[in-house]
Symmetry: C3
Subunit: 258 residues, 3 copies
């Protein structure tokens, strides 16, 4: 049941889950997504685990969906793909009643941005680049990004970032409240672990109930949003913009959308 | 069907709509409002149009509702007025599935603030003054301002701005995320067109679907909010504060509300 | 019907309500809570009152729920307690159709943070410390904090503050829009009264209707949120973290949550 795409470690009461496809910037393929779902269901729910850290191996958190695999499933429905992959993952992260800390570096893009925003807390290394990503290949924000991002930074900024596909950096993310702390790349791992251990010593039951309170007050429509994102993605999937966006990406040239 | 109150131009794939009552600070009267509704329905929906710019002629974006005409319709229901004018306009702007860029200068007040906030993106000239406006004449925020403004800047700041009727400037608007870019007044038109052309070269279908996603996630209650604003405005209309506010405005003296 | 725990003064058209248990940092006990409910129902609804100021006597706004009394009601249901105390108070503050200005200094913690955030406007003395508080004693945010705080500062910052129980200061609160103005402690009372009198001269009917508009647009779920917070608090009440948190607080030692 273990997979080389996800490293699972426990130290004291902290469970560290490391996305491990460094040769692909830790982009999500089906195997890694399922391994993460499984770890959140099994390992993370162990009462002995009092804090979960989500990070990436190597120089990146994650570039989001692996576009090469997306090409393979291009004949299939992105809607069904989302229902099996990111949508349950986002719900799992929000429903896990213990603190989840995302430790970010390098790139956080597309579905990986949604996953990072679904965590409770975020620490980022200087230089981390956050990209909405989807529209660059003619798709629409999924993985909860259509809800999390405008809720956090406002609809105006979210629209500009989504439409332009231009990244924002860690300092900007801190100023906007998208991340809670920024540190040097060298210190990221140590600071992440120190924070996680501090969280694990805290009132974890009350933290879990507080997540429930925040979910209820601010994200009552999360599952409906994820479902709707999937329906829109099914429309985007069959539009010429998506074909052009993917081809341009593969051919390493700028897309030509009209 | 054309009206001198709204200039309509096309260059490449950019449709520019210019509010054109400069002698009245581009304040909205019924003719201009209907001309804008018509242009959004007909011109803007042309598939050849890939980006819409909304701006004002002369030194102002718009001062909002023309109070002189409001005087004329004072015997009528403001509720019915809103249902025919700003409410459908706001919904049109949010439902138009292509990027809409507001180019702002001088004054943005009252209903014009709601219209500007309903656009996807905003660029403003230095010195632009944003005013909630309504309470200065004893009315309540309409045109979606009761939703857009607190969503963007928080309920505390929105309450203070609404109650005081004090303007905020372009630099403050940028810091709060109310506008995306600020430029010198001299460069506003060129920067607006450069941005609009860049947007028009982008994945416009995906942008349109992204607007749908944002609307669904963040503004599911928009039409209900517009309806409720209208009901409250009908109450405010018949209160002595409104009569006093309008008279003071016409007589260019401070209002005396008690 | 008067109580020494709440001072009630009127000057011009401003009603000033002063939480008055300075020997307990103005912590809320049942008597003070009921006195405040009564004053909002009776005094504040007088048409002659055009602005309400809420403040604390001495060096603090309020430390929140009085934990000593909480100990006394420990056998009872916190859910029932909330239904009788803070939940109706929060609703009263939001439904009172005139401006309510919180004047803050020293400490604003726990339920008192919820009460302050339910007011329309906030002015704070430099050095004021804002603390979520609840999780420090193994409880969950109530008094609307689970809604007001993430709406104002974003879910990421709210999660960090709630989990850590670390205070933020007045300068930070101003930057985040949690307070509208910051002043020196010496000038707080004079500035508060000057602002209140200015508000009282304004279009108070329109302000009241604007509160209704904001409530409808942004807080349609407020009563449901308060009810749900109460249900979660009933769970937290019976968990060992709460017992440990309260005992550690009483014994002035750090809590040991596992």
């Amino acid at each position: 049941m273990t997979s080389p795409t996800l490293l699972i470690e426990r130290q004291d009461h902290v469970l560290t889950l490391t996305l491990n496809r460094p040769e692909r910037a830790n982009a999500f393929n089906l195997e890694m997504t399922r391994a993460l779902q499984r770890a959140l269901r099994a390992e993370a729910s162990d009462p002995d685990v009092r804090c979960v850290v989500l990070r990436g191996s190597g120089n990146y958190f994650s570039a989001g969906q692996d576009l090469r695999e997306m090409e393979q499933v291009a004949g299939e429905s992105y809607y069904q793909h989302l229902r099996q992959t990111y949508n349950p993952l986002i719900v799992q992260l929000r429903r896990l009643e213990k603190p989840v800390l995302a430790s970010l570096r390098g790139a956080v893009a597309g579905a990986a941005l949604g996953i990072a925003l679904a965590c409770d807390l975020r620490i980022a290394a200087e230089g981390t680049r956050f990209t909405v990503g989807f529209l660059g290949i003619g798709l629409v924000p999924d993985s909860g990004v259509s809800l999390f991002l405008p809720l956090m930074i406002g609809l105006g900024r979210a629209s500009a970032l989504a439409f332009s596909n231009v990244p924002f950096d860690a300092a900007q993310a801190l100023d906007w409240g998208v991340v809670n702390r920024v540190t040097s790349p060298d210190e990221l791992d140590a600071q992440t672990m120190a924070w996680a251990q501090q969280l694990a010593r805290g009132p974890v039951k009350a933290m879990g109930l507080t997540k429930r309170a925040f979910n209820h007050a601010l994200l009552p429509n999360l599952e409906d949003v994820l479902e709707y994102e999937g329906q829109l993605q099914a429309i985007a999937q069959h539009h010429s913009e998506h074909r052009e966006g993917v081809q341009a990406f593969m051919q390493k040239r700028p897309p030509k959308f009209y």
